[in-house]
Symmetry: C2
Subunit: 505 residues, 2 copies
C-alpha cells in the first residue's frame, strides 16, 4: 500500500511527520505510564502543535484538559499516539481513523511479538483498520522523533530540536532512542527517526522509498530484524543507495540473536553471509551497532562526499600511530609515507628528539601549539597521496600538565578553541578534511573538570565542521564507510552508463 | 643476560622495582622538562624512598637539594631516572653504575629509533655499560610504574597507589601511561608496569620470565612492536602462559604500521598471520588495543579462573539483547534459551507486556527494582547451561525519568547501591559471576550529573567485585578471552599429561 504520488511525495507520511495536532490516548494523571511519559516528552521538547491527552476519567493532566474519549476531542487531529493496553488498541485506532487522523503510532506491546494467537489476532485487527485508511507505526514501538515538528520518541524529552539530514528507520525502539540520544551530543542531526516495532502497516520498504525522495534526508540509517518482503526491500535499497548513503544494521544474524528477534518484534532473522552479500550488491553500508551508526552518520554529514584513501595521522604518540596504521590497512585506507621533501619540511616544525614526520606524524608530546599543528596540516596537505587528516588530541594529558605548570583552571589551559580554529583553517585552505580523535583515558570520579572540557572541546570542533571520535579505530571505520559508499556508487553509476550505451539495450 | 637465580628470583629486578632511593638526572628547576615532570610525578604519587634530583647548576628543585652531579649525591642510590639529552646519557649511566645503582631507566630519546648512525652508536654505548653491571630500561621510554613502591611513569602523578595483580610490559610509553590511567578508574590494579622503549638491555623475554615467577603478578599484559629474539620469546611465552594468563598486543602488523614501528622504537614488525598462529600455539591471548587490554585484565582479575560458555543477558531491551547474542556467537560464547520451567518462573517476575524471559531476558524497562533483578539472577542461575550473567543497566534513562517523576537529585533516584548489592548477593548465593554493562548514551555538556552517577556506580560495582563495561560487545569479548585462555590451558595441560604417560617417553 504505497501512497507515494507521481511527484514522489507521500502525503500521509508528510502529514504524519508534521502534525498540527496530536491525540495521546491512554495518559495516566500521575505515576509512570507510557502515555504520560510521551506527553511529558512532547511538552519538554516543545512540540508546537496542539496536544490532546485522552484519559477515560477526564480531568486535567499537566495543565491540559484530558478528554474521556477520542470522540470528545473538540478539534481535528492529524496524528495519534496510542498507549492503552493491547486489547483496547484496535478500537482506539478505529476511533482515530473516524476522527480523521492520517496516522497513529502504537506504543503498546502485546501483539504478534508475544507469539500468542491473541496477540496475532489483535495485530491483524489493527492492520485491517489501517487498510481502511489510517497509517500505523508500530505496535510495540517507541514512535516518531521529528526535530522540525517537535514530535518525539518514548522517552525523548531531551532530544535536540535542531533538524538535520540523518534519518533512522528502526525496528527497535531502544536503538531509535539510543541513536537519537547519542546524536544529540555527537553532532548528528536528524530529519526523521521512526521506531516501527512490529511494523504491522508502515514498514522498512515503504518508508525507505519515502526517505529516498525526502529532500530533508541526506543519509538513511536502518536497523532491521526481519523483512516483510525481501525482494521489494532490496530493490528499494538499491534505488535508495544510488541517491543517498544508506547504512544498515541487521540484528539477529546469529542463531540465538535470530531467536531473540522473534520474541522482540516477531521477526525472522536471516543468515549473515546472505545479508552481507545482499547489502554489498545493493550499495548500502553494513554496520554493527548504533555507536558505529553514529560514527558513520557524523562522517557522512561532515565530510565532503567522495572517496578517501590516504590519511595522515598527526599527533597522539608512536603506538597510537602504529595502531592507526594497522587499523587503516584492514579497512582499505592507507597511511602513506609523506613525500620526502614534505616530511623534511614537517620535521622542521616538530620538537626533537622523539618525533617523526614519516606519517604517522608523531609530534612527540601532547602540548604542541595549535599554530604548529595548523602548519603541519598545511604542509602534509601538499602530498597528493593524502586525502584526509586525522588529528589525535590527547586532551587528558593536559590535566596532569596543568598541575606541573601550576595552572588553576583546566579550561584556560587547554587550547581547544585554537585547535579547532587551526583545523578549520587548514581544511579551508587545502580542501582536505580534518577528523579529530579525542580519547579520554582519565575518567576518575574526581576528574569531571576534564570531562567538561572534553565535551566543550567536542562542541567547538563540531561547530567548526570537524567530526570528533573518541578512538582512532572508530574514526577510521567511519571514514572508510564514507569512502566505500562513494566508491561503490561511482562503480555502479559507471556500470549503468556502460549498459545504457550498449546498442540494442 | 638473565640474572634469575635458582629460586626464580631476579635480585636486580626486585631491587629496581623497590628502590630505597632514586637519582633523577636532568631536572630543570622550572618549566617543562622530562626530568622535572618525573620528579613532580614521584612527589605527587608519594614515592616513599629518597629522591635525589641532579641538576648541573645545583640549587633546589621543589624543595629538594639538587646535586650538580651523580657523584655529588651524598647517599647510596638503588635506581636512577635519566632525562638528559641523548649525547650525555652514556656518561650518566656509567656514573650511576659506579655509584652502585642496580638499574636505570632512560627517558631520553635520540637513539636507535632515529635511524641515524649517531643514535645507534649512542645506544650501543649504553648497552656496553649495562653489560658491565647496571640494568637499563629504555632508552626512549616512560619508565616504571610500581604502585607498591610509588615509582611512577612519565607523566604519572595521578596513578593509583593500590597494588594489584596486573603487570604490563610495553614497548610503547604512550600505551604504558594510557593503560595505567585507564586501569585507575576501570578497577585494574597493577603489580609492575614497564615502558621499555628501545629495550637496549632489559626487554620482553627476560622481563616476561621475571613476571612469570613474580608472586605479585597474576596476569601479564604485553605490547610488542618487535622482538629481539623470536624463539626465546616464544618459549618464554609458552612457559608463562601455562602459569598465568598472558595478553599480548602486537603493534605494526600492517605494512605502514610496521614502518611506523621502525621509527618509533626501531623495531621490525612481523606478519599478522604468523603472529596470530604463534600466539595461539603459545597459549597467550592476542588483543588489539589498550582498551581491550583493560577490558580483559579486569575480567581476568575479577572472574573465577575457568571456562565460560553460556551467558544470560538480563535487561537492556530487545535490540541490545539481540546485539549481544549476535556478538556472543561470533566470540564462541552462547546465549542459550532458558530451561522452560525457569523461563516460566522468571516470566512471573517481569513487567508485562514487552518483556521476554527466553534469554536474552528483556525486562521491558530500565527501572525494574534491584530485588527483582536479584531474583531473576537467582532463578536463571539454576540453569546448568548458564555459566555467567551479563546485566545491562541503562542508567542514562534515569535522567529523563527523574524529571518525569519530579525528583530533585539524580543520585538519590538511581538505585546503584541496591543493584550492586543484588548482583553481589546473587553471585555469592549461586557462584555464577555477574558482569555489568553500563553504557552512557547521554553525554551532553549539561549532563555531568549523570556522568558523576555513572562513575560512582562503576566504583560501587567494582567494590562488589563485579567487572563493569560500557558496551555489551566489550564485556563479551573480555569474558571470551578469559574462557579461551583457560580452555587452551586445560587442553595443553592434558596434552602434556598424555605425553608424560606414554611409555618410553
Amino acid at each position: 500500500m504505497n501512497q507515494q504520488n507521481e511527484s514522489g511525495r507521500h502525503e500521509p507520511l508528510d502529514r504524519m511527520f508534521n502534525p498540527k495536532s496530536i491525540a495521546i490516548v491512554g495518559v495516566s494523571s500521575g505515576g509512570f505510564s507510557f502515555g504520560r511519559s510521551i506527553l511529558l516528552s512532547h511538552l519538554a521538547i516543545g512540540y508546537e502543535g496542539t496536544l490532546y491527552p485522552v484519559n477515560r476519567r477526564g480531568g486535567t493532566v499537566e495543565g491540559l484538559t484530558a478528554y474521556p474519549s477520542i470522540e470528545d476531542i473538540p478539534g481535528a487531529i492529524d496524528f495519534a499516539i496510542i498507549a492503552v493496553p493491547a486489547p483496547h488498541v484496535p478500537a482506539a485506532v478505529e476511533a482515530c481513523r473516524q476522527k480523521g487522523a492520517v496516522g497513529a503510532e502504537i506504543l503498546s506491546a502485546g501483539f504478534r511479538e508475544t507469539g500468542t494467537p491473541e496477540g496475532r489476532a489483535l495485530e491483524d485487527e489493527v492492520r485491517a483498520i489501517a487498510d481502511r485508511g489510517i497509517r500505523v507505526v508500530g505496535p510495540n514501538c517507541f514512535g516518531i522523533y521529528c526535530p522540525k515538528s517537535g514530535q518525539t520518541l518514548l522517552p525523548g524529552p531531551n532530544l535536540s530540536r535542531e533538524p538535520g539530514g540523518v534519518a533512522f528507520l528502526s525496528q527497535s525502539g531502544g536503538h531509535a532512542v539510543d541513536f537519537s540520544l547519542i546524536g544529540t551530543w555527537r553532532g548528528v542531526r536528524f530529519s526523521k527517526v521512526v521506531s516501527f516495532g512490529n511494523g504491522c502497516d508502515l514498514r522498512e520498504t515503504e518508508m525507505l522509498r519515502y526517505l529516498t525522495q525526502d529532500a530533508e534526508t541526506m543519509v538513511i540509517c536502518m536497523y532491521i530484524e526481519g523483512l516483510a518482503d525481501g525482494p521489494h526491500f532490496l530493490s528499494a535499497l538499491k534505488a535508495a543507495a544510488m541517491v543517498k548513503p544508506v547504512l544498515v544494521i541487521k540484528g539477529g544474524l546469529s542463531d540465538s540473536g535470530g531467536r531473540a528477534a522473534a520474541s522482540h518484534t516477531g521477526s525472522m532473522g536471516g543468515q549473515k553471509r546472505i545479508w552481507e552479500a545482499a547489502l554489498r550488491q545493493s550499495g548500502a553500508i553494513m554496520l554493527e551497532s548504533v555507536e558505529e551508526l553514529a560514527d558513520a552518520s557524523l562522517a557522512f554529514t561532515l565530510l565532503p562526499p567522495r572517496t578517501y584513501r590516504g590519511c595522515s595521522i598527526v599527533g597522539g604518540g608512536g603506538a597510537l600511530g602504529i595502531a592507526a596504521a594497522d587499523a587503516a590497512e584492514s579497512l582499505g585506507l592507507a597511511i602513506p609515507p609523506l613525500r620526502p621533501d614534505l616530511a623534511e619540511s614537517v620535521m622542521e616544525l616538530l620538537p626533537k628528539p622523539g618525533s617523526s614526520a614519516a606519517n604517522p606524524i608523531d609530534v612527540a608530546n601532547p602540548f604542541v601549539p595549535a599554530r604548529t599543528i595548523k602548519e603541519i596540516l598545511l604542509r602534509a596537505s601538499e602530498d597528493d597521496k593524502i586525502d584526509l587528516h586525522i588529528l589525535v588530541f590527547l586532551i587528558y594529558h593536559f590535566k596532569a600538565q596543568k598541575d606541573v605548570m601550576g595552572v588553576e583552571n583546566l579550561k584556560d589551559f587547554v587550547p581547544s578553541e585554537e585547535m579547532a580554529d587551526a583545523c578549520r583553517e587548514a581544511r579551508e585552505l587545502t580542501n582536505k578534511p580534518v577528523v579529530l580523535v579525542m580519547p579520554n583515558y582519565r575518567q576518575e570520579e574526581d576528574a569531571l573538570d576534564l570531562e567538561k572540557v572534553v565535551r566543550e572541546t567536542r562542541r567547538l570542533f563540531l561547530e567548526a565542521g570537524i567530526p570528533v571520535y573518541d578512538d582512532v579505530r572508530n574514526a577510521l571505520r567511519a571514514v572508510a564507510s564514507v569512502s566505500r559508499y562513494y566508491r561503490r556508487r561511482a562503480a555502479r553509476a559507471e556500470a549503468v552508463a556502460r549498459v545504457s550505451k550498449t546498442p540494442g539495450q
